[in-house]
């Protein structure tokens, strides 16, 4: 029986197509619900898949064995003021970690300000200035593309030297060689000793538009009071959790946190961002699932309805097909195929529109990287499933009609 219907698959498809063509307007209106449902699914699916790939590739650049000691956690839940009243993280904490941590391979203090950068007659507003130490190459996983990074001596001497991000170097110097030139950052002049490798964009924001100076120089110029961010690289990524515990101990002691109180600092990690992102996408998934389910349900009911009409209209045809030898299964398959074809039209159109819309959203978000074509299977699977479910009752009704009565039907 199953082999039977397989051999006749081509016939059923042809019959379905003929019937749909014969009622173009009715078919289009019927499949509209499916179209909307599948478009929704595919648009969001494409967008999220694109974001996942993109964010995954960017985050893996940043490195997962580094934790950041800061005043604020990266994802704030609840009362912002609780965090605001905390003491800044300062030089004392940095020194304590550097001296006492046994699991840290590198400890890097970082402090950031925004200043005007200028060279010759070229002037750029709002350039990020990062004050740090020589170990930034390890914790920040950056490498100079040309020239060199700071040495320990440069840092200790609070030298008036700077290393530039690739984007900033390009904008200030165009094609000329920046090495050895003097640029102005804020009110101070620095000699360029290196340019870093390009890191690329993140959602259209350049990650290469900054200048690095020795932290001592930064503090002399821009003030001591500014809070620090301390990046700590674990000796091995397996020891990351142990490292966090060790840091907590050191910090609580240094900051004299009473035993009963909670931490008054945050130890941040990339996981938090990915976790936050995953929570956000899970919500998004739940929302599309509901929207799609509703429109597919409505679309499915539309298909059931129109298939009931189609079966009634063709009662005599069904009687005749049975008279000349069609079995129940033949009739069932014929009408089931018609329902599947009907919903697949909406499905295919929805896939196309959804892929276009998804790519458009990704390009507006400045997310690069390809579109994930697994969405095609999702869309096709959904519409075929709706076709089968919504077509089953009318098809079953057709299949079990009595041939004598249906041949006489007026």
């Amino acid at each position: 029986m199953i082999r039977d219907s397989f051999a006749l698959l081509g016939e059923y498809t042809g019959m379905a197509w003929q019937s749909i063509i014969a009622h173009k307007m009715r078919s289009i209106l019927t499949t509209l619900g499916i179209l909307i449902g599948v478009t929704t699914i595919i648009t969001i699916w494409t967008t999220i898949q694109g974001l996942n790939t993109y964010i995954g590739s960017v985050l893996s650049d940043i490195g997962n064995s580094v934790v950041y000691v800061e005043k604020y956690p990266w994802v704030i839940k609840g009362d912002f003021w609780k965090y605001r009243n905390r003491k800044n993280i300062g030089w004392r904490e940095y020194e304590a970690i550097r001296r006492h941590s046994r699991l840290a391979r590198a400890v890097t203090p970082q402090v950031v300000a925004s200043r005007v950068a200028a060279y010759d007659d070229k002037k750029l507003e709002q350039v990020a200035v990062l004050g740090t130490t020589e170990s930034f190459t390890e914790t920040g996983s950056v490498t100079p593309e040309s020239g060199r990074f700071f040495t320990g001596a440069d840092i200790r001497n609070k030298a008036r030297l700077t290393v530039l991000g690739a984007q900033l170097a390009e904008e200030l110097f165009k094609k000329s060689n920046p090495l050895g030139k003097r640029i102005r950052i804020g009110d101070m002049k620095y000699k360029v000793i290196g340019v870093l490798e390009r890191q690329g964009d993140f959602f259209g924001q350049s990650r290469d538009n900054f200048a690095i100076v020795p932290i001592g120089t930064f503090r002399n110029v821009y003030g001591q009071q500014r809070g620090l961010q301390i990046a700590v690289l674990a000796a091995t990524s397996a020891e990351l959790e142990d490292l966090k515990e060790e840091l907590r101990g050191i910090l609580r002691q240094t900051r004299k946190v009473p035993a009963a109180d909670e931490d008054d600092f945050a130890i941040n990690q990339m996981d938090q961002l990915t976790g936050f992102y995953e929570d956000a996408t899970a919500t998004l998934y739940a929302i599309i699932f509901i929207i799609a389910a509703i429109s597919l349900l409505v679309g499915g009911i539309g298909i059931t309805n129109i298939m009931m009409v189609s079966v009634t209209e063709r009662t005599r045809e069904i009687g005749l097909r049975k008279a000349v030898g069609a079995k129940k299964n033949n009739i069932l398959s014929q009408f089931l195929m018609e329902a599947i074809a009907l919903s697949s039209i909406g499905g295919v159109a929805g896939i196309l529109i959804g892929l276009l819309a998804g790519s458009l959203i990704l390009s507006l978000l400045k997310v690069t990287g390809g579109v994930d074509f697994s969405a095609i299977f999702v869309g096709f699977g959904f519409s075929a499933f709706v076709g089968v479910v919504s077509g089953f009752y009318p098809a079953y009704k057709a299949a079990t009609m009595n041939p004598i009565d249906s041949l006489r039907y007026e």
Partner: protein
């Protein structure tokens, strides 16, 4: 014996009334016979036709078609028998309106599982046999009543069935066209086909070779028709 019916009864419920449509009838028909079944409405002739055509099963009694007992078969088994043994011709033609003549004739072959290319050839030959070789790609609404009935006859013939079962085949045709269709049946019978025509018109029944008359679910006469002057 092609058809062997013994003590066959059919009862059914019409609302709350039990109707005895066929009352213990026995009947046999040989291969290559040309039989007319006659009777006024309510005589049971339609019920008998439905049972002979394997569209319905009797309440009691036996029916053997071409050596096979069909009284107790399932719906799907009956469908297979109809496909193989019976060619139906209806008063209202019952063609698929959106399909051309060729495709209409192919229909029984589809359910027999004949491959497409082969189907085309057989359907073409059959349409030529009924004189419609030049109308194969016409849809039913592009054909005259007589031509439509010829398409239906070609569809009935295409599977080489044991019986052609025609239910009032001239009922929707004018008398000249009706004559032509009856001539076609006579030719088909002469070529070896077994034909059973159900009708209430004496004139149509007279074209057959044997007339079986029903009244109130019983056979009241079974006579051979004398054809004096051949046309």
């Amino acid at each position: 014996m092609l058809i062997d019916i013994r003590a066959l009864s059919k009862k059914y419920l019409l609302g709350t009334v039990r109707v005895l449509a066929l009352n213990e009838i026995s009947l046999s028909i040989e291969r290559n016979e040309y039989v007319a079944i006659m009777g006024p409405s309510g005589s049971g002739k339609s019920t008998l036709m439905n049972i002979i055509g394997c569209l319905d099963v009797p309440t009691s009694g036996s029916y053997t078609l071409n050596g096979q007992a069909v009284a107790s078969l399932s719906d799907d088994e009956l469908a297979t028998i109809r496909n193989k043994e019976i060619g139906f011709v209806f008063q209202t033609f019952n063609l698929l309106p959106r399909a051309d003549a060729l495709h209409n004739v192919e229909l029984p072959l589809i359910y027999k599982g004949v491959p497409k290319a082969e189907r085309r050839i057989i359907a073409r030959e059959t349409l030529e046999k009924v004189g419609l070789g030049d109308r194969m790609d016409h849809k039913p609404n592009e054909l005259s009543g007589g031509q439509r009935q010829r398409v239906a006859i070609a569809r009935a013939l295409v599977n080489n069935p044991s019986i052609i079962l025609a239910d009032e085949p001239t009922g929707n045709l004018d008398s000249t066209t009706g004559e032509e269709i009856m001539k076609l049946f006579a030719d088909l019978n002469a070529a070896g086909n077994t034909i059973i025509v159900v009708t209430h018109e004496e004139e149509i029944a007279r074209k057959s070779k044997r007339i079986i008359r029903l009244r109130d679910g019983r056979i009241v006469s079974d006579e051979t028709v004398e054809h004096e002057a051949a046309v």
